[in-house]
């Protein structure tokens, strides 16, 4: 059977740029056609910014890799028009079990928020995720959108200039040079761009190795996340079992330190390990095997002149908590609208600095959470293990100990509390929707709130008056007039008003709250709009 990752999806094609006598200048070039690069490209092109994605390969990744996609990234994909495809192809899950030794110690259920369109999580292989994004790009191209993917275009050199970046590309037909007003490096944790520019990537390196296997089997395990600490079949280590679409299961087995990676990767060594876990008589085939160790690192700055880093190239976390791809998609979400405003002359270049500030805050949150999970899963000393095991023993008997069990703190979006773009809170509504927060969803009529927000500034009024639009320094916020009566479940009221009789929210194109107040005040919201676009 031919697998998706064996098929060229964006085969090399000669570009007219390769025959140009002087290097062609593009507004935005993106390096890397992974989830982050493709998402950023789609977002920019939908905003009308011409964009070219360059990839040294011509197909999706090998192996399932990122498999858990959280609610907020699904909402971002909804904004880009491909959330439903992802959900349709994925498997939803909300339940998990934790085992210690040979016994279950507790269950959890990430119940979906009532009134939210998207579930807490879906599982979907990264190769399917990337394929669906490429299909979306093909559709956009048919409709005339300014978006292009160039396969087998490998970046060989990068020259940084004060107002552009020049890059030299190697192709099957020789090399050529391109220029970009802005270059976005979405080229992964081992980012060649970062290396070529000689930039730092510091943090904590973990020594434990993990075997990761995609197994195809007809098994009647439920669609739940099962995590084992110190199981009989992998003594002293941990294990994870998680369902993917099409009868593929993800298995992670901790192998410890100082192992022979090549030896452990061989099927004759992998299969007995899996049989010990799944049972001698369970029939399965191995789809993909890899051995990884990981680090929690970030660049000190994600913006260097006209080169911007997004996703794993900027920050890397351990896999526990699904904070890699999910945070990368939120990088894309944060960056695209800012770059669009800067390129169209509606915001100063300094707006890009806020990308660095906001996403660095998110990276720090993700690194903190994933480092703590890693320390719990792979205790670094005898005493760490003793304390960890004490928590696990207690958790089987007492609910109070369960919050201490850390098999991964699952990805949640960042609230940009310290961002220079947000205005002081002027509404006594719940903290959930304070300035900096991602807008929580709510049912509105037959649809949902987030579907009404789109990719521009919105002035959301709830039982309050305001003009139909507010234009300030070339940026327009469109009014979305709602009433608490539009949502009989009162989710809108509960999240956005609390006990307040009315509220006005300025919402950014990435659906984060920029400012809020009880009623519309023109001066207040004009200042908020200037601040949200880097002009205050």
């Amino acid at each position: 059977m031919t697998k998706i990752f064996d098929v060229p999806l964006y085969a090399y094609q000669r570009s007219l740029d390769q025959d140009a006598s002087v290097p062609v200048r593009h507004p935005v070039l993106i390096i890397g056609a992974g989830p982050v690069g493709l998402t950023t490209a789609i977002d920019l092109a939908q905003l009308g910014v011409p964009v070219v994605v360059l990839d040294d390969n011509d197909r999706v990744v090998t192996g399932s890799r990122a498999i858990c996609f959280a609610k907020r990234p699904l909402e971002i994909l909804d904004r880009l028009g491909c959330g439903q495809q992802m959900v349709d192809h994925g498997v939803g899950w909300s339940k998990g079990k934790v085992f210690f030794d040979d016994r279950p110690v507790y269950d959890f259920n990430l119940t979906d928020e009532p009134g939210h369109k998207r579930p807490a999580f879906i599982n979907l292989q990264q190769y399917t995720f990337e394929r669906l994004l490429v299909e979306q790009i093909r559709e956009m191209q048919s409709a005339g959108a300014p978006i292009e993917i160039r396969g087998c275009n490998k970046v060989e050199a990068i020259g940084q200039h004060y107002d552009h970046v020049a890059i030299e590309l190697d192709t099957p037909e020789g090399s050529y040079t391109l220029e970009a007003d802005w270059l976005i490096a979405c080229d992964g944790a081992n980012s060649p761009t970062r290396r070529m520019l000689g930039l730092d990537f510091d943090g904590q390196v973990f020594e434990d190795n993990f075997l990761i296997a995609d197994v195809v089997m007809q098994a009647n395990f439920p669609t739940e996340r099962w995590f084992w600490f110190d199981p009989p079949f992998n003594r002293g280590q941990s294990a994870l079992l998680h369902k993917q679409p099409e009868n593929v299961w993800r298995i992670d087995l901790q192998l410890g330190r100082d192992i022979d990676k090549e030896r452990e990767k061989r099927p004759e060594n992998v299969i007995p390990r899996l049989k010990a876990m799944l049972g001698e008589h369970v029939e399965f085939t191995l789809d993909w095997v890899s051995i990884y160790s990981f680090q929690c690192c970030r660049m000190e700055r994600f913006v260097h002149g006209r080169t911007i880093f997004a996703g794993d190239s900027a920050h890397q976390v351990s896999p526990f908590g699904a904070r890699g791809a999910n945070s990368g998609l939120q990088d894309a979400d944060n960056l695209a609208w800012k770059l669009h405003l800067v390129l169209s002359g509606k915001a100063p270049n300094s707006l890009i600095d806020s990308y660095n500030i906001e996403r660095a805050q998110a990276a720090d949150e993700n690194i903190l959470n994933s480092t703590r999970s890693t320390e719990f899963i792979t205790p670094k000393s005898d005493m760490s293990r003793l304390l960890r095991d004490a928590v696990l023993d207690l958790s089987a008997h007492h609910a109070f100990a369960r919050p201490l069990v850390n098999s991964g703190r699952l990805s949640t979006p960042c609230t940009y509390d310290s961002s220079p773009l947000i205005s002081a809170d002027a509404l006594a509504a719940p903290a959930l929707t304070r300035p900096g927060s991602p807008c929580p969803d709510a049912p509105i009529g037959t649809g949902h709130l987030l579907d009404h927000l789109g990719n521009q500034f919105i002035l959301l009024t709830i039982d309050a008056d305001a003009p139909d639009h507010l234009e300030e320094c070339g940026v327009t916020a469109l009014r979305l007039a709602l009433s608490v009566r539009d949502d009989p479940t009162l989710t809108l009221k509960r999240q956005y008003l609390g006990d307040c009789p009315s509220g006005v929210y300025l919402i950014r194109p990435d659906q984060h709250v920029a400012a809020r107040r009880d009623t519309f005040d023109e001066r207040h919201f004009r200042a908020a709009l200037r601040r949200a676009t880097g002009k205050e």
């Binding site: 003793l386 304390l387 004490a390 201490l404």
Partner: protein, 68 residues
């Protein structure tokens, strides 16, 4: 140190607690005793709950391990 942690004597019956704690370890191996102590720390810590008190407790315990 904040004022969240009580370091003034607070036991209703100090001798009885000490006796109960040592008795709980009777017959246990070193590993079992270590595990019991660890579980006990978490039970007590949860009862306290307050982050400042717990942080101060760690500081107080650490500093008492060095000569006064």
């Amino acid at each position: 140190m904040s004022d969240a942690l009580t370091l003034a004597a607070n036991f209703e019956d100090a001798d009885a607690f000490f006796a109960a704690l040592t008795e709980a370890h009777d017959g246990l191996t070193r590993a079992e005793s270590d595990a019991l102590n660890a579980r006990l720390i978490f039970v007590l810590a949860n009862h306290i709950g307050d982050t400042r008190a717990l942080t101060d407790a760690i500081t107080a315990a650490k500093s008492a391990g060095t000569p006064a």
